[in-house]
Symmetry: C2
Subunit: 186 residues, 2 copies
């Protein structure tokens, strides 16, 4: 019976890590209602790397896939990319990114993260931003880790309509719609 | 008669420099249909500084007036500011500002120039960007000098509706509408 329980739990673990690779061992333990120690042993047994390793591997894969711009031109760290479809990047807000008077992050950084991610997910040799409509929902401060998720919602000829939503640890702080225009032979 | 002509010309010169302080001596000479030498002598006589001096003086004045952000947080060079009304900044596009593949300026820079200028013209102790709708009209390349002009078109409570239009030497390359939100005692 214990063996059956373990098998089911490990299958659930594999499924969870596949769907949400950013879950920490603590979060996985909570969700599967076991100890963190159990999660670590399961990971070892199953050959699932720890969180940092999973992110590093995803990031390498993602960066190798970027076409329309150079992968080092993505603002923040590109951690997932499904070319022609979607992508995820991470930007840590540091002290040099905030306005002196308000200690609120300069809007340019959230814009740059979103804009460069939108370009990175386009499956074309070159691209340029045509239009952007952006909304700052919540002020962002030093230390926050911003996860931006971009998705191509429509393609018309060489025009890509892309939505980007950016969250900190607790809520959505920024969202943007871009029209990115591509050119060059695929 | 020559003296009358000179007086009229010098009055025209004063008027022109007042309205368009960025005109070069060459442009002034053309517009007043005299030689560049004549313009220089007129300027000397009238105590009008040369173009660079005029810009430097305007820039100093402008920078001293910024309230909602620190003046060094304006992206590019702030060269004119009518607080609570309008402002002008200059951004030179350098090699580190373009995408490697296309040699086209990264959209973030035009955005940053416009966004920080929009904040700089707000007459309030603090401000933050709420919404931005931007349009990239023409690709921008290394060496171009971008003049952004921002204007407050409407104020509703603590919300400022600001338009920014950015030109290179020949045409409009970018335009943006911002809603900037202010707070703090005036």
């Amino acid at each position: 019976m214990a063996r059956v329980k373990k098998k089911i739990r490990q299958e659930q673990l594999i499924e969870k890590v596949k769907n949400k690779p950013f879950l920490t061992d603590e979060e996985l333990a909570k969700q599967l209602d076991v100890s963190v120690q159990t999660i670590r042993l399961d990971r070892l047994e199953l050959g699932i790397p720890e969180l940092r390793g999973r992110i590093r591997k995803m990031a390498e894969n993602a960066q190798n896939k970027v076409k329309a711009i150079q992968s080092n031109e993505v603002v923040g760290e590109l951690i997932d990319l499904e070319l022609g479809h979607s992508g995820i990047s991470l930007l840590k807000i540091t002290e040099d990114m905030v306005f002196g008077k308000t200690q609120i992050a300069k809007g340019h950084f959230m814009f740059s993260q979103a804009d460069s991610l939108a370009m990175a997910i386009v499956d074309a040799p070159m691209a340029v931003t045509g239009v952007a409509n952006v909304k700052y929902k919540v002020p962002v401060h030093v230390g926050e880790k911003l996860i931006a998720k971009a998705e191509i919602v429509k393609v018309r000829g060489n025009k890509y309509f892309i939505w980007v939503k950016t969250h900190n640890e607790t809520q959505e702080v920024f969202r943007a719609k871009f029209i990115v225009v591509s050119w060059g032979e695929k």
